[in-house]
């Protein structure tokens, strides 16, 4: 049975990872019809939503799990995967459990998580620091301290793509690192607005205000162009999710040798774990529904998880997979994962509306001379609109 699968994984590492999914699916005798839409979720999601609400849904579609597809589920447009989940024992296998929780609405399961992404990573170019004659930093504070040397060597200290979500990601990464886990949880999970407006967060904004000076010379647009600056040693580091590793891999770079990764920015060994999930719109065609369920089961299965996540550079959603092939960075991530130092990501706990507002705020903040205090105030307002 043919299933059309839409997603926005089109960069090198991503495409290779999707190919693994497709290969596995085709092997079951079904056919994966690829509906890639480049340009990231921002471009692709409107199209997907239009298709689904327009009554011409695809067979499966990528969303960041969490609240993005919530209303579609509530409107009864999505296939209930509970039976698959029970048959496959997702509850036991999927780790951390928050991933499956994000797929659950009213006790029913509507999506198949495929990977874990953690945005709080600092990627460093060993070569850049060598050129600048300083040692490779081991945490965010050292990185900030080394920045002047990098600048002197004609490098961009911090590479940052000019897209709202990247600015927001960088800020989020710094929140965990600077303010610490407790504050993070208070604000994001308990939605404690006093904490959000508190001094701890103010420190984060101050730090971000310093960081934006380091990124002032960065003029690229896409995240992978920014990563490329790090890969080629033109920039010292980049705050980017674990998927950046795929780019290093495609470029043939070796972790620990050509580049260094610092999960949780080397300060707090904590990661927030969001990720991608696949949703299966209702097609009202038993044949297709069968194929959809097959695909769902397949995506969570062990072999596919390994193959997929190795290519993608993300972490698998199961605690029981063997990732001996994983490289230095991924192992670091796995370790944190195993230690359970985890929190959910922002887009799992906040509505897309809040996320978007924060993205808009952050992109403005990073690229202008808005005072940290003002940004902080607006940020709290944004959170309140969704609290």
């Amino acid at each position: 049975t043919e299933l059309e699968v839409t997603h926005w994984w089109t960069s090198g590492g991503e495409a290779a990872a999707v190919a693994e999914l497709a290969k596995a699916f085709d092997a079951t005798g079904n056919k994966w019809v690829d509906g890639a839409i480049a340009g990231g979720g921002g471009t692709a999601r409107p199209i997907m939503i239009s298709r689904i609400t327009g009554g011409d849904p695809m067979g499966a579609t990528q969303f960041n799990h969490g609240q993005q597809a919530l209303e579609l589920v509530e409107a009864g447009l999505m296939l209930d995967l509970t039976d698959v989940a029970e048959a496959e024992g997702w509850k036991e296998k999927i780790f951390p459990p928050s991933l499956l929780e994000a797929c659950t609405v009213d006790g029913r399961i509507y999506c198949a998580p495929v990977n874990i992404h953690s945005p709080e990573w600092l990627w460093l170019s060993n070569q850049a620091f060598a050129d600048a004659g300083v040692p490779v930093p081991t945490n965010w504070d050292e990185f900030v301290a080394a920045a002047p040397a990098l600048e002197k060597a004609g490098k961009i200290p911090l590479a940052l793509g000019n897209q709202p979500w990247q600015s927001n990601l960088a800020f989020g990464a710094m929140t965990v690192a600077v303010a610490g886990m407790d504050v993070w949880k208070k604000v994001n999970i308990e939605k404690d607005m006093d904490a959000a407006a508190g001094p701890e967060m103010a420190k984060v904004f101050a730090a971000a205000a310093d960081a934006r000076k380091l990124a002032a010379k960065s003029t690229v647009q896409d995240w992978n162009q920014a990563t490329n600056l790090v890969i080629t040693g033109q920039a010292g580091g980049q705050l980017m999710g674990d998927w950046a590793q795929g780019e290093f891999a495609v470029a043939g770079k070796v972790a620990g040798q050509d580049y260094t990764c610092l999960p949780g920015l080397g300060v707090n060994e904590y990661l927030s774990t969001g990720g991608d999930a696949f949703y299966f719109p209702k097609l009202n065609d038993p044949e297709k529904e069968k194929a959809q369920k097959e695909l769902a089961a397949l995506m969570v299965s062990k072999e596919v998880q390994v193959a997929f996540n190795l290519k993608k550079g993300s972490l698998p959603i199961r605690g029981d997979v063997d990732l001996s092939a994983a490289n230095d960075c991924m192992k670091k991530g796995l370790k944190i994962l195993a230690d359970g130092n985890l929190v959910p990501t922002g887009d799992m706990v906040w509505s897309p509306d809040v996320v978007k507002q924060n993205e808009d705020l952050m992109v403005e903040f990073w690229k202008s001379d808005m005072s940290p205090e003002e940004a902080h105030k607006k940020w709290v307002e944004n959170l309140k609109s969704g609290a």
Binding site: E4, T6, H7, W9, T10, S11, G12, A15, V18, A19, A22, W32, V33, D34, G35, A36, I37, A38, G39, G40, T43, P46, I47, S50, R51, T53, G54, G55, D56, M58, D222, N224, Q225, N228, I231, E247, V250, A251
Partner: protein
């Protein structure tokens, strides 16, 4: 009697000519620069591009990027470049252009020659419609097409193009038909020709210039459309611009500028060719349709 006779002698390099052609040359440079950059870059290899000058002609001409853009560039899992979308685009283009122009010209004709009560009101609304951003209509149209059961089909997309082309095209055709002598229409009615006969046998054959303008506007608009193509159809119908977007936006490591430029040129080829073939008629048509407000 003596004195000057004949024409005043003119130097070819008069000050007027120098200024005139100088400005024109400068302006042309500005307009041609991007094309030059596109063409030159598309013929360079990546190493040469990385070295720097985007304006320099290629040291070593390679058609590799063109081949890649056309046939092998990847989007997700599909590695057949733009070729995949080309026929889709043609399939979208032809019926959309034909239908939208047909309807708009009939509208214009009805508005001018078969006025009925309220026709001007509808026309005014239509013109206001030209100012509505597409984004605003995106959602209502999804719902509308869904209700009509056309969502996701090629016909749905054709309808969308027809709707959004309607305001400006109707304006063009109305203005053109107004400028045709009304007596012609009267003569045809006396000859016993009906609504459609007059339209097809009298009006259509007389409207070549304005049709050229309409065709150019529509070919350009529809061929270059990305949003509607991707929102209102499914992947098997995706137009070439979707592939272009995918090629240009999905970066694998470094951006392959040469492939991007080749893809851009390939995508722009159809409207460009239409332009080059019909330049003169275009100005004439504009004069006939657009100018008489």
């Amino acid at each position: 009697m003596t004195g000057p006779r004949g024409a005043k002698p003119k130097r070819i390099l008069s000050r007027r000519n120098i200024i005139l052609y100088g400005i024109l040359a400068l302006v042309s440079l500005y307009y041609l620069l991007p094309l030059w950059v596109m063409v030159v870059t598309s013929l360079k290899g990546m190493p040469e591009i990385r070295l720097g000058n985007i304006f320099a002609p290629p040291v070593e001409i390679t058609f590799e990027p063109w081949v890649k853009a056309w046939a092998t560039a990847c989007t997700g899992l599909n590695c057949d470049g733009l070729s995949r979308g080309f026929w889709n685009s043609v399939q979208i283009l032809v019926p959309s252009v034909v239908l939208s122009i047909l309807i708009a010209s009939i509208n214009g004709y009805a508005l001018v020659n078969w006025k009925f009560k309220g026709s001007e009101v509808f026309f005014t609304i239509l013109i206001f419609g030209a100012f509505i951003p597409y984004q605003v209509m995106l959602y209502p149209l999804v719902i509308l097409l869904r209700e009509m059961g056309l969502y996701g089909s090629l016909s749905g997309l054709v309808i969308v193009h027809t709707i959004f082309g309607m305001p400006i095209l109707t304006l063009l055709f109305r203005n053109y038909f107004v400028s045709l002598p009304e007596e012609l229409f009267k003569a045809a009615r006396i000859d016993g020709a009906g609504f459609w006969q007059i339209y097809f046998r009298i009006m259509l054959p007389m409207s070549l210039p304005i049709f050229v303008v309409a065709i150019i506007l529509q070919v350009t608009g529809i061929w270059n459309d990305f949003l509607f193509g991707v929102v209102y159809t499914r992947p098997e119908h995706y137009p070439m611009t979707v592939q272009l977007n995918n090629i240009v936006n999905s970066v694998q490591g470094v951006k392959e500028y040469n492939v991007n430029m080749a893809a851009t040129l390939l995508t722009g080829a159809v409207p460009l060719i239409v332009y080059f073939l019909s330049g003169r008629l275009f100005v004439r048509g504009i004069a006939a349709g657009a100018v008489k407000g």
